[in-house]
């Protein structure tokens, strides 16, 4: 019984790990292609989810600001938009965001040290967080794009028959796993079998060599940031459906960092495996050790695990070997 309960925790941890991996994936894509450690990935997920809710509910953008400026009271257009169009529109907005980021920020920071680029993305994160709040309001929003939710009765009944103990598994988590797997497969297919994907890998390999064979760096950057925006949108939909669209959504970016460290910054399989290890590890740790030390260990377990791990393998599980020369 104890063992069965622990394995239920384990399965749920794996599902949570998929969600972490989803965010980590966006990081890896941008880091590989442009060498930018994009701290804003989590806020991009929040911004995408907010925009999606705003469009679907027909909210007036900048309503709060307009009201303060002109003394009127506008809030909604009075229509609702179906989920499919909402998602398509939001994806378009994320592409627009990618273009704006490239034109206004990255273009001017080419050749700066990585730490400067990292700081710029933190600035971007603050900006986007403020922009999301000013555009759509800071209230907690409910996001429902028609994904099934609630405990899966089928699995509970099936496990009850087999093992004499029903597993509680959220249907949303199962869907998230399926969608994440599809997304990863799609991304791998894209980068392996299309022209743009090959160009992307070339840029990731060596900027200058890619430039010299006629690949447009700027186009690739816009493309990569758009893909990262799309990944952020998917992550935003999943997390937003699960726990409501609110500020804490942007904190999943912080959760994705130890995932990256564990898996290595440059490896897509690393992001997936790292996500699974962290999701599983923190749930099991909370289950076995948590009650002894007062709970809420999920806040730090991932970081300490990654820290200890890195001491023995500084480049992460799948990261490129670090070679240093003087």
């Amino acid at each position: 019984m104890e063992f069965l309960y622990a394995s239920e925790v384990l399965v749920n941890g794996l599902m949570a790990g998929v969600m972490y991996a989803l965010v980590a994936l966006g990081f890896v894509l941008i880091y590989k292609a442009s060498g930018v450690f994009n701290y804003a990935q989590g806020v991009m997920a929040l911004f995408a989810a907010m925009t999606l809710v705003g469009i679907m509910e027909g909210r007036v953008p900048f309503a709060h600001l307009i009201n303060a400026l002109f003394g009127v009271h506008v809030s909604h257009f009075g229509w609702t938009v179906p989920a499919f169009f909402g998602i398509a529109l939001t994806a378009l907005i994320m592409v627009g965001l990618a273009i704006a980021v490239e034109k206004l920020v990255l273009k001017h920071l080419v050749g700066q040290e990585p730490i400067i680029l990292f700081m710029a993305t933190i600035g971007l994160a603050w900006f986007l967080e403020g922009l999301g709040d000013v555009m759509w309001g800071a209230d907690v929003k409910v996001l429902d794009v028609g994904l099934p939710q609630g405990i899966s009765d089928g699995i509970e009944a099936a496990t009850n028959d087999w093992l004499g103990y029903g597993f509680f598994i959220d249907r949303l988590d199962i869907w998230a796993t399926v969608i994440a797997a599809a997304l990863v497969a799609g991304l791998v297919g894209f980068s392996q079998y299309t022209k743009q994907g090959r160009a992307m890998r070339a840029v990731a390999d060596d900027h200058q060599a890619a430039l010299s064979v006629g690949i447009s760096l700027r186009f690739i950057w816009i493309m990569v940031w758009s893909i990262a925006g799309f990944v952020a949108l998917v992550a935003g939909i999943m997390w937003g459906t699960k726990s409501g669209v609110q500020f804490s959504l942007s904190l999943i970016a912080l959760k994705a960092l130890p995932v990256l460290m564990l898996g290595g910054f440059t490896s897509i399989p690393g992001a997936i495996v790292g996500g699974l290890i962290i999701g599983m590890g923190e749930k099991l740790f909370e289950y076995f050790i948590g009650p002894m030390v007062g709970g809420a260990t999920e806040n730090w377990f991932a970081y300490v695990l990654a820290l200890l791990f890195l001491v023995f393998r500084p480049q992460g599980l799948f990261g490129e070997r670090i070679i240093e020369r003087v």
Partner: protein, 358 residues
């Protein structure tokens, strides 16, 4: 001519190595110190102390601390908030356990305790570098804040989980607690800020500082020419955490009066101090002050303009402030990645030659 080295003959190495080689610079520095110590305390009111000057001085100390680690020794840290929490909780435990000992001793001891904790979390820096280290320091941030929230011993089993500074006096003046006057708060922070800036300046231009900079520029090369990376990195973590711990102790005991770990010392504190260092200028003591001044004054300024002048709602102003700070950070990084300190250096170069172009 006023701003010139010409005619100011140096007759000893001591003269040659001084911090302010130009006479006008030196005198204006002394004048600024004199005004800060002898004039401001008599005119300061609680608005200026609480909104501007005290946070400026405290964050300047924290920024100097982080600048030593990141700007001089090249180890990026995102754990500043956690180390400030160590300083705050250490000074709280000391204040309540030994009420008879002067508060200044407690604050220094809190700094030392933070230095030990900082060295502990600095140990992985011997193996991990760059971004991996930056993310690894987040472990310190989250673990320490969690620890202070979950272990009741740290907050003396108080029902609210908060720590509250009891009243302590120094030479008959209340330094902590609700009865503290604005000038006492200001003077306490000023004494620490000036003394620590002096220490930092002299550390960074001596042997220790040169070792840090060698490690920053290329650690393997530094090791080959005989800099011990273990002692250089750990001493950087220790000194930096000492400064940050004192800033945390002052923030809690003198400025806030009461604090709760996850609220007062969250991850946003770490980023705020890092922004101060970057905007001010990496590897510059003056830059730490400039960055702290900029990021303390900006929100006050924006709030005054947006809420008081234009009458906009406070929450809207807060969101706009977030946008503006974010945009300004990007703007600064694009225009001057080396921060305000570089701008100041360029101004001085121009001033020396003025009115001639070359």
């Amino acid at each position: 001519m006023i701003y010139r080295e010409a005619g100011d003959f140096k007759t000893s190495y001591r003269d040659d190595g001084q911090t302010f080689p130009i006479r006008l610079d030196r005198w204006s520095y002394y004048a600024a110190l004199a005004v800060a110590f002898l004039v401001v305390p008599f005119f300061i009111d609680s608005y200026w102390a609480n909104a501007v000057l005290v946070p400026f001085l405290i964050y300047a100390i924290a920024a100097i601390g982080l600048n030593i680690l990141t700007g001089y020794a090249g180890q990026v840290s995102l754990g500043t908030g956690g180390f400030m929490a160590v300083g705050a909780y250490a000074v709280y435990k000391l204040m309540t356990a030994f009420p008879g000992v002067p508060i200044f001793v407690h604050i220094l001891l809190a700094g030392l305790i933070t230095a030990v904790v900082g060295m502990l979390f600095g140990l992985p820096s011997l193996r991990i570098k760059g971004f991996y280290l930056a993310v690894a320091t987040l472990a310190a941030q989250f673990f320490l804040v969690w620890l202070f929230n979950k272990v009741p011993w740290f907050y003396n089993y108080s029902a609210s989980g908060q720590i509250t500074a009891p009243e302590r006096t120094f030479l008959g003046w209340a330094v902590t607690g609700p009865a503290t006057s604005a000038s006492a708060k200001y003077l306490t922070c000023l004494v620490f800020a000036v003394a620590l800036a002096w220490v930092a300046r002299n550390l960074t231009r001596g042997t220790v500082g040169r070792k840090w900079m060698a490690i920053r520029d290329m650690d393997i090369a530094a090791e080959i020419i005989g800099v011990n990376p273990l002692s250089a990195k750990l001493s950087a973590f220790a000194v930096s955490s000492f400064f940050v711990g004192i800033a945390g102790a002052l923030l809690f005991a003198v400025y806030l009066g009461a604090a709760e770990a996850s609220e007062a010392f969250g991850i946003n504190k770490s980023f705020l101090v890092l922004f101060m260092v970057i905007i001010g200028g990496l590897g510059s003591i003056f830059g730490s002050f400039a960055g702290a001044a900029f990021l303390v004054l900006l929100p006050v300024f924006l709030k005054n303009v947006l809420v008081a002048r234009l009458g906009w709602p406070t929450d809207l102003a807060a969101h706009l402030e977030l946008m503006i700070v974010g945009a300004l950070i990007i703007f600064f990084l694009i225009v001057e990645p080396h921060g305000l300190a570089r701008l100041w250096r360029l101004t001085k170069e121009k001033l020396r030659l003025w009115p001639f172009p070359h």
